[in-house]
């Protein structure tokens, strides 16, 4: 990596700080403004008011809001996200236990989506306006418009119950088990991600196919497959990288729903349960991690872009 890229990365990582600070303030106050009392939820309907009061004090939630925020920030700058008020475990531990699951799912989904979209896009581009191209177009629209939990259930019914190929739920213990357990969840998210990738890629390939340098390559007698991979695809795939980068936030959001459907123990499940129980420190920690992930992935996308296309300069 050259100096330019390093400088660019450092600059952007530094600019991350105010962004995350802003996000932390907004999350902190937003979740406390919505009604719902963690102590009450923890103790359930059978608690009497005195016990609720005592637990509130134990959680430190009887302090004025600005004080609570200061304590939170002090801890945060020391690398401590605080403890879950419901599960009474450090937030970092809770997130750490689940981060790999969600990252696995997101990366798996990305790879699967690329593996599905590139051949389809190429095929559609080469056989432009054929029956097949139109078929893929219709399938894309269908895939995009079906809600992911519905696709998830259909896939489960088909590939876990009717044909017992994949487990219904869980994560497994080894790498190959992860691959097997997360295949259906990843495929589910891919259903809505691939259409977003295929359409622009197809258009790009069609444009490039009629470009002069492709004709020149063919004229030089280079094999058609080589032309497609080295000349067409390399140029066409740039846009796809950008789309993937932009979509990472959306991918994380999608994983929240899909993790719940497939009982995958990732960050999404944690987020949902901590919102329902008003586990403030966990929600704050998760939002920060999600935000940081989105920013870092976008940064990586920019850098990757310059590697794929040396003409692009980072500012």
């Amino acid at each position: 990596m050259d100096i330019g890229r390093v400088q660019y990365a450092v600059k952007h990582i530094v600019s991350l700080v105010p962004v995350l600070l802003g996000i932390s303030i907004i999350t902190f106050f937003m979740i406390r403004l919505i009604p719902g009392d963690p102590a009450q939820i923890l103790l359930g309907p059978r608690a009497n008011p005195e016990t609720v009061q005592r637990v509130t004090e134990r959680m430190g939630l009887d302090q004025p809001l600005p004080n609570q925020y200061l304590i939170y920030m002090q801890n945060l700058f020391q690398g401590n996200m605080g403890d879950s008020i419901i599960i009474q475990q450090p937030v970092l531990t809770l997130i750490g236990e689940r981060l790999d699951v969600t990252l696995f799912l997101v990366i798996y989904t990305t790879i699967l989506s690329v593996l599905i979209s590139v051949p389809i896009a190429m095929w559609s581009a080469v056989r432009k306006d054929s029956l097949l191209d139109n078929g893929f177009r219709a399938a894309s629209i269908a895939g995009l418009s079906m809600p992911s939990f519905w696709i998830g259930i259909l896939l489960m019914l088909l590939l876990s119950i009717k044909v017992k190929l994949f487990p219904v739920s869980g994560y497994g213990n080894t790498f190959s088990e992860h691959l097997r357990h997360l295949f259906l969840p990843a495929l589910t998210i891919s259903f809505s991600l691939t259409p977003v990738l295929i359409r622009p890629l197809r258009t790009k390939i069609i444009t490039i196919l009629s470009a002069e340098f492709v004709e020149a390559a063919r004229a030089r007698g280079i094999k058609e497959s080589q032309v497609m991979i080295k000349h067409v695809l390399r140029n066409a795939v740039l846009g796809t990288v950008t789309i993937l980068g932009v979509n990472v936030g959306w991918l994380l959001g999608g994983s929240v729903i899909v993790e719940t459907v497939f009982s995958v123990p990732g960050l999404g499940q944690l987020l949902i349960s901590s919102i329902l129980t008003r586990d403030y420190p966990v929600i704050q920690g998760l939002v920060l991690v999600f935000a940081a992930l989105v920013i870092v992935v976008n940064l990586l996308t920019d850098i990757l872009y310059t590697i794929l296309d040396p003409r692009v300069k980072l500012e």
């Binding site: 009474q88 019914l157 219904v168």
Partner: protein, 535 residues
């Protein structure tokens, strides 16, 4: 967010099952034992061998994880039912939940004045770490349960002191007679913990690394995913548990549970939606269990708000709602009509008439009330519960018949609970369940205006009822005590601070090779009695 997803999933599931299972036989509603089976294995097919076989791991799906293994901290039913399989108490609930039987205490004597309880303890109980369970541990655990660190201190009001009075003996001294004591001692918060471990390692450590003396001990805990328990080989009931271990798996989505059962990834699933039971019953490899549960579903009415301070209006609403119709439509017929504040625990008044559906009477009461022309009101419901939202529609329709125009407000469960406990509502859907078989817990908590929750946050006041509830705690004559609770139920029913709805049972689906799985009235299960046959 999850709520709407859940609703959507259920409707999707219904669609799929309609398409996929058009051939399921009619009239197969799962009416499994009102009286749970007396022995392990009963209720299974006859040709099977009824001798328990050791071995195997039971995978058990539940909706949520628990938050702590410290008996005095969590208050959720799931946590209570988990810990009852990991700890021992002085006494324990009988398997079907209709009485109290010996636990760590082999026997006990109660003094004439009802203020002294002497418990003789077993001498062969060991904690999971190998240390013997001593009377000092019992004293320590119960003092801890009623002390300031406990979320359950309120349930031990009458205890004056707990003393070690012999090598294997503990004596509990009361300020005044307190009849619910034995029931309370069977509760999970009364679990016996090793004094030395808790004092040395601290309560935070203990909450994650519990040491009990019950049939199962914690092997690992993957939060939000599963709790893995392994067999306690030194359990004092020799030969039990039969299972090598239990995995409580967290599966919040109904559809996933059903698929996992069909794919044999689970042995037992709890909270299977009533709407799917008929279809699962038709599956030859599955058993359906609908177990009665000491739970009351109701609509508390905020009587501090006009016009709900008018008794006639509260009674009119009770008459106008056809509870059986709701049970049939929403619970698919599983459930029983409620008549007063008490779930089906000891001294439940079966004879009480309550408010059978009577539109004429309801209209007449409305005509005599402060709002003869009807009024507008808001019913707040929990958006996470499909049962609540289906029920709300029926309630709205039925109250319209007596001129009440109901607006339904759907909110998240946490918000609903807070509105309820701060009394910022008009009508709200909720429920409670009893943790003990004695009626005192629910009477003090749900009905008695001075019991700390203002009659479950309705603002209802009745001094006579308050007095009677306190007297009933101390009444040593069983017949008289029963009469008192009958009277309490009658008064509360007549004053109608709630719309009394129904008692919802618990639903379980198990694989056919699961034997001896029985659910008590309090919803708990003794997994040391469960065994698996080869399939």
């Amino acid at each position: 967010m999850k709520k709407r997803l859940g609703l959507a999933l259920v409707s999707v599931w219904t669609m799929i099952s309609l398409v996929a299972c058009s051939a399921s036989p009619a009239n197969q509603t799962a009416q499994t034992p009102q009286q749970p089976a007396p022995q392990p294995g009963a209720g299974q097919t006859a040709e099977q061998d009824n001798t328990p076989q050791p071995g195997g791991v039971l995978r058990f799906a539940r909706n949520h994880d628990i938050t702590s293994f410290d008996p005095i901290i969590p208050a959720t039913n799931l946590a209570i039912w988990t810990m009852l399989n990991m700890y021992d108490q002085l006494v324990r609930l009988s398997p079907n939940g209709d009485g109290i039987e010996p636990g760590v205490a082999t026997d006990w004597t109660i003094s004439e004045d009802g203020k002294t309880y002497v418990f003789n303890l077993r001498d062969d109980v060991k904690f999971h770490n190998g240390m013997p369970l001593t009377p000092e541990d019992v004293k320590y655990s119960l003092d801890r349960a009623r002390g300031g660190d406990s979320n359950w201190d309120w349930i031990y009001p009458a205890i004056k002191s707990i003393d070690v009075t012999g090598e294997h003996q503990v004596t509990i001294n009361l300020e005044a007679p307190y009849l619910p004591l034995l029931s309370t001692l069977a509760l999970s918060s009364s679990s016996i913990v090793p004094k030395q471990v808790v004092e040395e390692k601290g309560k935070e450590f203990f909450a994650n690394n519990p040491v009990g003396s019950g049939p199962f001990q914690l092997e690992s805990w993957q939060r939000g995913q599963k709790i893995v328990l392994k067999k306690n080989p030194d359990y004092w009931q020799k030969g039990k548990p039969y299972l090598d271990g239990v995995e409580f798996v967290q599966v919040p989505e109904d559809t996933a549970k059903i698929f996992m059962l069909q794919a044999k990834e689970l042995e037992i699933s709890s909270n299977v939606p009533f709407s799917s039971l008929q279809q699962l019953e038709a599956d030859p490899s599955l058993n359906v269990l609908v177990a009665p549960f000491a739970r009351l579903d109701m609509i508390p009415i905020n009587s501090t708000v006009e016009p709900f301070n008018d008794l006639k209006i509260r009674q009119a609403m009770n008459y106008a709602i056809n509870k059986q119709e709701i049970i049939d439509a929403v619970l698919m017929g599983h459930g029983e009509v409620a008549t007063s504040y008490l779930p089906k625990v000891m001294y439940y008044n079966e004879q009480l008439e309550g408010y059978p559906y009577n539109l004429e009477k309801a209209k007449q009461l409305m005509a005599e009330s402060s709002r003869p022309d009807g009024f507008k009101a808001t019913l707040t419901i929990n958006s996470g519960s499909d049962i609540n939202s289906q029920m709300a529609v029926i309630v709205k329709e039925q109250l319209k018949a007596i001129g009440i125009d109901l607006e339904i407000q759907q909110l998240e469960p946490g918000v609903v609970d807070e509105m309820h406990s701060s009394m910022k509502y008009e009508m709200i859907t909720t429920y409670y369940s009893s943790d003990i078989i004695d009626p005192d817990e629910i009477t003090m908590f749900g009905a008695a205006p001075s019991g700390g929750t203002s009659a479950y946050y309705t603002g209802y006041k009745n001094e006579a009822l308050d007095k009677l509830a306190l007297q009933a705690q101390q009444e040593q004559d069983e017949t008289k005590r029963k009469e008192m609770y009958y009277e309490l139920q009658r008064i509360f029913s007549e004053d109608a601070p709630f719309i009394f709805l129904f008692h919802t049972p618990n639903s379980y689906v198990t694989q056919k090779n699961v034997h001896g799985f029985q659910v008590s009235n309090m919803g708990s299960y003794r997994l040391e009695d469960v065994w698996l046959s080869k399939q």
